[in-house]
């Protein structure tokens, strides 16, 4: 039995390797995506344009405007001449924010009163807008501190000192590249298995396998193991790229990462096999895989944190293996996550893997009746 399975695995790997189309799907897109998306998927906000409407004539307002202009966060800081220009500037997306300083700004400050400065932000880009607001706040705070000092006030005793653990400079790449390991290994695991049975059905070789001494369970193992090997290979390539090319720190335990990867791949391969036992053509297999992967990606916390979702949807994410592997990958890369913590995410994946693989086996056998 094991010898037959070994031959099936060998054949499967050879077939994937020798078929130009499969090679294209397995090597081209992941590589392209790794490179493009590593750089594109950044939640930092840079190179943004803002405008300032300064209706005040005092020195202080000019000082404040100068600070905005000198900030490295903004690419250009234009000057508006009147309230009427604010609307068009924002509407046309020329700027993401307008800083408006009222005409009594300097007077208020001189009188020792609070001087409000408005910042009007483009809500179409709410996410970036909120980050811009944060930058503006930092600028205003430092302006205030210097102002107090100049007026002989001591700097406020109480202050916040913020530090980011695990990623002190909040580098996007450190988070994106490990996340891509989750997404791309899922892509490979699902596509390879979903397509392999469908392809054999289309080519007529599937019946050839069924009349051979191979048992259905052996065929399933023979389809699972190659996908696992290919997925692990893909994962390893991304790991190397992350550490060597993207210089993402790797702080945790390599064996734990691979333990997670194996369970994760087993879970998604189960889904792939499930799809392939349902469909008749490669076409349907691609669509089926896609219909699974799009929500699985969204619910994993890859694009937006799981905590932001409503509670019922958070419950749904418990069935998504990517959600758990994402925690493991980021934890091991950046946080040196201890084994006890990793185990917290391992066992749900184990459950999901057992569920998907046994479900696939059941469907696969049923389809053969």
């Amino acid at each position: 039995m094991w010898q037959r399975i070994a031959h099936l695995i060998r054949k499967e790997l050879l077939a994937v390797w020798r078929d130009r189309k499969s090679r294209m799907v397995l090597i081209g897109p992941p590589l392209l995506q790794l490179v493009v998306f590593s750089f594109a998927i950044t939640q930092e906000v840079r190179n943004l344009d803002i405008a300032v409407l300064n209706q005040d004539l005092g020195v202080d307002s000019r000082e404040l405007v100068a600070r905005f202009a000198a900030s490295p966060y903004f690419r250009t800081v234009g000057a508006l001449r009147g309230m009427a220009e604010i609307g068009p500037a924002l509407d046309s997306r020329d700027v993401i924010a307008v800083v408006q300083i009222g005409s009594d700004f300097s007077r208020s400050l001189a009188a020792g009163n609070a001087a409000p400065v408005q910042i009007l932000l483009d809500g179409r880009r709410s996410n970036a807008a909120q980050i811009v607001q944060g930058y503006a706040l930092t600028i205003v705070d430092s302006f205030n501190a210097d102002l107090s000092e100049r007026h002989g006030h001591k700097p406020p005793a109480r202050s916040l000192v913020a530090r980011a653990w695990f990623n002190p400079n909040l580098e996007s790449l450190w988070s994106t590249v490990p996340s891509l390991m989750v997404i791309l290994t899922m892509l490979v695991g699902v596509i390879v298995t979903a397509l392999s049975v469908a392809r054999e059905r289309e080519l007529g070789t599937f019946e050839q396998l069924l009349v051979s001494p191979l048992r259905p369970i052996e065929i399933l193992i023979g389809k699972t193991v190659p996908a696992l090997i290919i997925g692990l290979g893909e994962g390893t390539a991304i790991l190397l790229a992350a550490v060597l090319a993207f210089r993402v720190p790797f702080t945790g335990s390599l064996p734990l990462l691979y333990a997670g990867m194996v369970l994760y791949l087993a879970a998604v391969i189960g889904v792939g096999l499930f799809i392939s036992s349902l469909v008749a053509t490669q076409q349907q297999a691609v669509l089926g895989a896609f219909t699974f992967m799009a929500p699985a990606m969204l619910l994993s916390g890859f694009a937006t944190p799981v905590e932001n979702m409503p509670d019922w949807l958070q419950m749904l994410t418990l069935g998504d293996p990517a959600r758990f592997f994402l925690v493991i990958v980021k934890g091991i890369f950046l946080k040196d996550m201890p084994a006890s913590e990793v185990a917290q995410s391992l066992w749900p994946m184990l459950l999901i893997a057992v569920a998907t693989l046994s479900g696939a086996t059941w469907f696969f056998r049923r389809r053969l009746q």
Binding site: A6, K11, A15
Partner: protein, 572 residues
């Protein structure tokens, strides 16, 4: 009749291969012109060139007075073209397919209603108008494909291998339809690699590797083989061995199995074969028979099929008369539809048993139940003493299976395919290496060992598929339409290997609706509407329908007569 197509020195090249090589020929109206040749001869390319779908690299093609290179659009209004898979939309109904082509060809209003009535009556598809084309049988699809090209009566009708995948009854109906069109003055071009079809054409263009070998009536070509064809009978059980021996003789140009005897064609100028010249001790009778187109065609191609198979040599010493494969009251129901209805038969060791029947008669269902791919609703099967559906792994190791078409891993090399199947069938170590080496030697696969098996020439694909099916020395070999759509030379070679396998005591079960294949069987069962309606040797079946009118019916005649008889019995 008027000349419809004129080809003058036409060449077409795809990359490095010359698909059509300086071809000059004509097609006339009011007759069927056959384009005949082995696989890869350039038949489809020629049809596409005539229809203006491809542009020739050199030479000139005139179709109905128009230049195919520059006036393709005009040609499309006067010519109808049916591609290999009939060009139907399988997810549209019969009526919707017809409507689409009526729209495209500008047949409207009253003219459309008349055309539909005419064509639906002509093709007998009237009752099936609402059925999806994908759910039609092969024969009906082909009739619908034809109807779609006939929506506006064309001057010229181009049909690309319309006879492939179609049973004899549908084929006969198709020819009747085609002759009716010919009577209306339409010129028809029919490409085929089946030589019995070529015989029915008024005119044939014989192609090989893009070159014209012959143009003229089939009769004129056939007459070149006059006086050279002989039927050697009473060869009995030894006919396969006799054939394989005869083919080694230099004076024999061609030979095939026909019923209980063998049919031989001697080389030009050679005398009739005798028992002595064939080297057999027993008494044989040698009858001169009328030549067939096939005899002349094989001679024209100048390629003598190698009937020598290195598989020869007796292995199994098992009892000759033991029943190896049996079906007992095998029944399969899908809801209220009964696909197979109490089918029973028994196959002895070393026998070739054929399951014949029109499309959709239930032979594939029966075949799948026999190999254990399908669970019978009731009844039992026994293959080498086991029920394959229940037996599992060990039982399946004792059978070999070759599916319809080429179903090996096209992306793997020949060697990798062999290694894979050896492994899956549990061959280990030295036995495995020896089995692979034996298959490579037997089927002369050495030059292609590292090539992708998908890129092999058809003959080698067949060899490889067979090698993978018999490498583990199975007791029983299942073949599902093994040579459907395959040219006569490749088919001869394939059957030479099967014959040698059988000589070694392997039992073979084959499904087919292709009569040349059925001739190779020791016994056949004719399946119709889920039941076995006739069983016996091919000669028995032929004899059972012989009447004063048809003294020597062909197997195809027998097939049709038996089905018709069953049909009328059911009606009464």
């Amino acid at each position: 009749m008027a000349t419809l197509v004129e080809l003058d020195g036409v060449s077409k090249r795809f990359g490095a291969t010359l698909a059509i090589d300086a071809l000059s020929a004509v097609v006339k109206g009011g007759e069927v012109t056959g384009i005949v040749g082995p696989d890869g001869a350039g038949k489809t390319t020629l049809l596409r060139l005539i229809d203006g779908l491809l542009r020739a690299d050199a030479g000139k093609i005139t179709v109905c007075g128009r230049n195919a290179a520059t006036e393709a659009a005009a040609i499309h209004t006067v010519a109808g073209y049916m591609p290999q898979r009939f060009g139907l939309y399988e997810d549209l109904t019969v009526h919707e397919n017809l409507t689409l082509y009526a729209d495209l060809r500008g047949v409207v209003a009253a003219e459309r209603a008349r055309a539909f009535t005419r064509l639906l009556g002509f093709t007998k598809l009237e009752p099936f108008q609402k059925r999806l084309a994908g759910q039609l049988s092969g024969g009906m699809k082909q009739k619908l494909g034809l109807a779609c090209t006939l929506i506006r009566k064309p001057e010229l009708l181009l049909l690309d291998e319309p006879g492939v995948g179609v049973d004899p009854i549908s084929r006969r109906e198709l020819w009747a339809m085609v002759y009716e069109l010919v009577d209306q003055g339409i010129g028809i071009v029919w490409s085929t690699s089946y030589l019995d079809e070529a015989e029915r054409c008024g005119n044939v263009i014989v192609l090989n590797e893009g070159k014209l070998l012959y143009q003229g009536t089939p009769g004129a070509l056939t007459s070149r083989a006059a006086g050279r064809s002989f039927l050697v009978t009473e060869a009995g059980e030894g006919r396969r061995k006799l054939l394989s021996h005869a083919m080694t003789l230099p004076e024999i140009a061609d030979g095939v199995i026909q019923g209980r005897g063998i049919r031989l064609v001697v080389a030009e100028g050679e005398a009739a074969p005798t028992a002595a010249s064939l080297g057999v001790a027993e008494e044989v009778s040698v009858w001169p028979v009328a030549p067939r187109f096939e005899d002349a065609f094989v001679a024209l191609l100048g390629a003598k099929a190698t009937h020598q198979s290195a598989l020869a040599g007796v292995r199994h010493a098992g009892e000759r008369d033991a029943i190896v494969v049996a079906a007992n009251a095998l029944t399969k129901r899908y809801g209220s539809f009964t696909a197979a209805d109490h089918i029973s038969f028994a196959i002895k060791r070393g026998e070739i048993f054929g399951l014949l029947g029109p499309n959709g008669a239930g032979k594939s269902t029966t075949f799948k139940m026999m190999c254990g791919l399908l669970r019978p609703t009731s009844g039992t099967t026994s293959v080498a003493g086991i029920d394959l559906y229940r037996a599992g792994s060990a039982g399946r190791a004792r059978i070999g299976y070759m599916a319809q078409k080429f179903s090996l891993y096209g992306d793997l090399s020949v060697r990798q395919n062999l290694a894979f199947f050896a492994g899956v069938y549990g061959l280990k170590g030295e036995r495995r290496a020896a089995a692979i080496a034996r298959m490579i030697a037997t089927f002369a696969l050495t030059p292609y060992l590292e090539a992708d098996s998908g890129s092999l020439p058809l003959g080698f694909k067949q060899r490889l598929a067979l090698a993978c099916a018999i490498m583990h020395e199975p007791d029983v070999l299942f073949l599902d339409e093994p040579t459907s759509g395959v040219d006569p030379l490749t088919r001869r070679e394939f059957w030479a290997h099967i014959n040698a396998t059988v000589e070694r005591g392997v039992t073979v079960m084959v499904t087919t609706h292709f009569m040349d294949e059925a001739e190779y069987c020791d016994r056949v069962a004719l399946v119709y509407r889920g039941r076995v309606i006739a069983e016996g040797s091919p000669d028995d079946l032929k004899a059972s329908v012989a009447t004063g009118e048809t003294q020597e019916p062909t197997l195809e005649d027998a097939f049709i007569a038996l089905v018709d008889a069953d049909e009328s019995r059911l009606a009464s």
